[in-house]
Amino acid sequence: MADPLVIARDLHKSFGELVAVGGIDFEVRRGEVFGFLGPNGAGKSSTMKMIGAVSPISGGSLSVLGMDPAVDGPRIRARLGVVPQDNNLDEELTVYENLLIYGRYFGLPKKVIDPRIDELLTFTQLDERRKSRVEPLSGGMKRRLTIARGLINTPEMMILDEPTTGLDPQARHLLWDRLYRLKQEGVTLIITTHYMDEAEQLCDRLVIMDKGRIVAEGSPRSLIEQHSTKEVLELRFAVGTQEEHAHRLEGMAVRTEILPDRVLLYTHDADRSFDEVHAAGIVPESTVSRRATLEDVFLHLTGRSLVE
């Protein structure tokens, strides 16, 4: 197997007193989609900036594309594509000009950049916007343009910080499709997200981060298998009555989780648990049975939900 593209050992990042990343270990392999899942403030973006060789590490060690970011920053950045959390496009310029200027920062000659721009505009479905100024474009288009910009230097590895935050469902699905195609072409992708569905859809492997540390690691499937049952039955009770019912539910499932607004029963068979609940004479206001998700894993490991 090929050498990992990123190797982090006991990686730390602190800003004065504040510890953003408190000692994490991970490896990103060539060709995979690797995810950092966690709530805001978990240290995902700080980690991404260190991998992107724009933010110096505070401790531990980090190797990116076999190089040390502290020494070979420019050489690493030359081979990376970056899609930051904010689009930071030059909104006064046109779509084409944004891509051309960015390509020039990489030192690529115009005769290499121009055909590349044609390809990227087709890839991101922005052909018709080539001559438009960036400012009036929709959020989804700006995001796609930022991705096209990050691809201008034909990077081996792409770093995407919350690629779909703030986008509507259609725009998200289009973006996921494009990212999937990139993976097919062999580009290694590192993404951060606080959306569990995004992580499940895209990531081959991921780490779940919380308060600057990694709390779990694996493929979405294996994480769910390891830390949760296959199915979940959600029960909602009339206001004020959840407490008394919750006690009676214990023992009916592998594990129960009491949230402010509902009770989660972790079970191998949600339908059977539903029957058991009814047989015991417990009548919730509403029930939902579903497959377990990464959200359940996170909830189990940290006692909190991901978004918020």
């Binding site: 030059d90 006064e92 310029l93």
Partner: protein, 259 residues
């Protein structure tokens, strides 16, 4: 073809952005010198030359004013280019963040930014020198000779203003910069009247300002007049200011952008 050095790429990118946005500034580039020379040089000049100015100034007022305005224009242009675009790059549009994700580093970014301002100042002051010549305020050769010291004045100011802007949290500090530094410098550094007209205690203050030295150099060259201080001292002052401002700008920009 080998790739240009990163600093050159930043200059090139700035030029491309400028090509897109130059319309507003090009008017002022050509119009401002005409308006100023008309109003101050010709209009006010008549009054000055027929009054006490005639005996105080060695030349007519328009001739006296023009090289001073050349240096002042370089300063205000530089201050504008080194403040608002820098704030936009750091905070408003965060384009600097995007640039630093490429092989371009903070040192390249600052050098390219100042390099671009130097190019633009050269263009602006050449236009100005042309207008001065057209007004009969100077000869072609002397007008051209006054361009380099004017550009030096501007770029020294630009370096310091860049350093100042790199530390600013928000745009409030930008209006303070123009209100408390650029405008007083513009008015009291010898552009419109000799510093010797100021009360005695203000002379050392005037001598300590960069624009005074810029004005002295430009006027000395354009009019071939003896200046109040040695031109070498003025030159040394501006070069030192540029060097110090550049080092500071890079250091503060790194502190602001690399976290």
């Amino acid at each position: 073809m080998t790739a240009l050095a990163p600093t050159g790429r930043v200059i090139e990118a700035s030029a491309r952005v400028y090509r897109r946005t130059f319309r507003g500034s090009v008017m002022s580039t050509f119009l401002n010198p005409v308006l100023f020379l008309l109003a101050m040089g010709v209009g006010l000049g008549k009054l000055v030359d027929s009054g006490a100015g005639g005996s105080t100034l060695p030349v007519d007022y328009l001739t006296f004013l023009a090289p001073g305005l050349l240096a002042s224009t370089a300063m205000t242009t530089a201050a504008g280019d080194a403040s608002f675009p820098v704030m936009a790059g750091i905070k408003w549009r965060k384009t600097y963040e995007a640039i630093l994700a490429t092989p371009v580093g903070v040192g390249d970014l600052v050098a390219g930014h100042l390099g671009w301002i130097a190019l633009r100042l050269t263009f602006v002051t050449l236009v100005y020198a042309g207008v001065m010549t057209a007004f009969g305020a100077t000869s072609v050769v002397e007008g051209l000779l006054a361009v380099p010291p004017a550009v030096l004045t501007g770029i020294a100011v630009a370096a310091v203003v860049t350093a100042y802007t790199a530390r600013l949290k928000d745009e409030m500090g930008l209006s303070s910069l123009f209100r408390w530094a650029i405008t007083p410098l513009f008015l009291f550094s010898g552009t419109f009247f000799p510093v010797s007209q100021l009360p005695g205690w203000m002379h050392p203050v005037a001598y300590a300002t960069p624009l005074f030295h810029g004005v002295e150099l430009c006027r000395g060259i354009a009019l071939d007049l003896p200046s109040a201080v040695s031109p070498w001292a003025s030159l040394g002052y501006l070069v030192a200011m540029l060097a110090l401002g550049w080092v500071l700008a890079e250091r503060l920009m790194r502190k602001r952008l690399v976290k």
